[in-house]
Amino acid sequence: MTVATCSGGPPVIAVLDYGIGNLRSAEKALQHLGADARLVTDPDQAVVAAGMVLPGVGAFGRCAQALRHSGLVKSVHHALARGTPFLGVCVGLQLLYEGSDEAPGVEGLGALGGVVRALAPGVKRPQMQWNRLQRRPGRTSALLAGTGESPWVYFVHSFAPEDGAEVSATCHYGGEVVAAVERDRLWGTQFHPEKSGAVGLAMLANFVAAVAAVAGASASPSA
């Protein structure tokens, strides 16, 4: 097994590749920021990474099934239990909940309480557009740090998680829609930071910095 934090290089961020759509965007955006981001299919490689990104596009049921089939579910649970900086994007965020109305009977990972619900009736689905975030009053967010009060980000989704204590930002689309969550080092976005231009890259840079900080702290006790 290779060691994730090689001396001199940036820590490895595993972008979990479980056989669904476009994962290249997240990988390329992180690499653009100087991170050592790699598409990872092997659970053993995933588990030693200093940071983990769970992307996801398409249907909840199919993604949940593909993730289980890949054997990477254990790596996700392990990373979350250990406090590895973690970022779920779009359906990758939804998978962290207990389930989704999109796929009744299919279990999510249950790392976050609540289920994923359909967007309000009367609006076009998917929400496929840029929208502006509304910060949750009183909440600080390391993910959103330095991106302004109401940054514009790109959404493509028909479902979104239920509101909860972990929510750091919402957007308005036929009602208040959960857009970003943060609980310690578990971060998630219903929008696509890798497709949200400069402001999205700034958010991913916050994630890369968090990964570096945690990897640095765990690598330096001997110093």
């Binding site: 669904i20 759509g21 476009n22 290249r24 965007s25 390329k28 955006a29 690499q31 653009h32 596009v57 398409g58 249907a59 199919r62 609006v123 076009k124 689905r125 998917p126 496929m128 557009q129 840029w130 929208n131 502006r132 991106t147 302004g148 009060e149 109401s150 940054p151 514009w152 790109y154 493509v156 989704h157 957007c171 308005h172 689309y173 696509h192 890798e194 497709k195 949200s196 231009g197 400069a198 402001v199 999205g200 890259l201």
Partner: protein
């Protein structure tokens, strides 16, 4: 809140942008990646690459363009033109395209739409419809395939409805009557399709002024407005387009730092 997307469209032939794009300060105005990055920086909400390459061999070039674009452009982009089967779509998506746009192949094999939506998700499957008003038939439009050269024997509204039912996540609707005329979108067509399908509709064909973009959103009820020449020729910047739209009551993502 609904926010209208503004989408520049680039025609690409064998890996090079054609139809003369004019941009000050570009090293090479024919490089699609350089242009895409420029439009991203200027505030485009999304981009469409239309591959007009005739040769099958040269199509591989488009995958390379997509891969290079994905390294430098961090807004969504769609690739269309000649996507004929699941493998071609997969190659483009794996290279980093966010959506693939199907036209002739979807008409020939409607099930291809369903297969792609099943494998990659509806959000990355666009069905492009080239429509022409049926002479003497009022508000009826016929669908054309093969780059507008062959009648497909279908009604545009019925095909849009079927495509959405099969799993298309978006309809890219081009009026052949208006394309290249700079006289504005076919607003009646746009409005009719937008009222027929529940998925987003991108208006295309005919933009010659910023007012046309406003019309596409307000009278056409489009979710996104696509244009080529007004941006390529340097007649208007994305910032001007969005400022004009906002001034005329169309919600858009403002250009510039977080607004």
């Amino acid at each position: 809140m609904r926010c209208i997307r503004v989408i520049p469209c680039l025609d690409v032939d064998a890996g090079r942008v054609v139809k003369g794009v004019q941009f000050a300060g570009l090293v090479d105005a024919g490089d699609p990646v350089e242009l895409a990055a420029r439009y991203d920086a200027e505030g485009a909400d999304e981009l469409v690459f239309l591959d007009i390459t005739a040769s099958v061999d040269a199509r591989r070039t488009m995958v390379e363009v997509v891969a290079r674009t994905a390294e430098q452009v961090f807004i969504p982009f769609t690739v269309g033109g000649g996507v004929g089967d699941v493998d071609a779509a997969r190659a483009l998506l794996r290279a980093g395209a966010d959506k693939v746009s199907l036209n002739t192949a979807a008409l020939a094999h409607p099930n291809l739409v369903a297969r792609l939506a099943g494998e990659f998700g509806a959000q990355c499957v666009v069905v492009a419809i080239d429509a022409r008003r049926r002479a003497g038939a009022g508000a009826r439009w016929d669908v054309y395939s093969h780059g507008g050269r062959r009648p497909a024997g279908r009604d545009a509204l019925a095909w849009a409805e079927q495509a959405a039912a099969l799993g298309a996540g978006e309809i890219l609707l081009t009026s052949m009557d208006r394309d290249g005329t700079r006289s504005g979108y076919d607003l009646e067509l746009t409005r009719a399709v937008a009222g027929t399908v529940a998925v987003p509709v991108v208006a295309s064909g005919g933009v010659g002024s910023l007012e046309h973009l406003v019309q596409g959103a307000r009278q056409g009820d489009a979710d996104a407005v696509l244009a080529a020449s007004i941006f390529h020729r340097g007649e208007h910047t994305l910032a001007e387009a969005k400022a004009y739209m906002a001034d005329h009551g169309v919600p858009v993502r403002p250009v510039g730092p977080a607004g």
